[in-house]
Amino acid sequence: MRGRMITITNEELDPGLAVSQVEHPGAGAIVTFVGATRDNTAGRRVLLLEYEAYRPMADQQLQRVADEMRERWDLKGVAIHHRLGRLEIGEASLVVAVSSAHRKNAFEACHFSIDRIKQIVPIWKKEFFEGGEVWVGSQEGFDPLGVRHTAG
């Protein structure tokens, strides 16, 4: 197996590498997600992006996502690669590859991981528009401890 399976990197991501990291003779299904930034957000033309992380906390939280996936589903392999730094439009910022005996587990776990990363991993994205830039992230929904809905 080449490279780290759970990793945050300034290098370009390679979906094929993530797939190869989770290959397993007992795996009938590998589901892979590649997240990239689109050329527009809410109709505004995005020119460039920048990702910043709080490390090593981000690495630990990404590992926690992988651990939670393995606790909830019977998986053969999990690879999560997150990109940092400046990205062009269309470049991959996130690759998740999940293998399992049956495809349902791989699909569900892969989908879960993306939601979970957006909840708890301290990584931030800045979008650069013509004539402006903005850090993405909604103050309202951010609740990594999962307490606000109970605390009211």
Partner: protein, 81 residues
């Protein structure tokens, strides 16, 4: 006790600084740190909405700080997309 406070993304840009060291009174909690930060640093949300990690773990506002802790003010995350 000395607490290192780290700032990221929008918080860092609005404050104009990525890290400060503050002298906190004994018994200070994450909640009292958030109040102190909201009063002294520009551009932070209301204290009760500031999410804080202490030594790389998310902690609620009751959590008691210790001398030498690294407390990070965590803006809403937006990775992965």
């Amino acid at each position: 006790m000395k607490i290192t406070v780290r700032l990221f993304a929008s918080y860092r840009e609005k404050a104009g600084v990525g890290q400060i060291v503050i002298e906190a009174p004994e018994g200070a909690t994450v909640g009292s740190l958030a109040q102190m930060a909201a009063m002294t640093l520009p551009g932070l949300p209301q204290p009760e909405r500031i999410v804080v990690a202490v030594n790389n773990e998310y902690r609620d506002h009751d959590f008691a700080l210790s001398d030498g802790d690294e407390a990070a003010l965590i803006p809403p995350v937006s990775g992965g997309r």
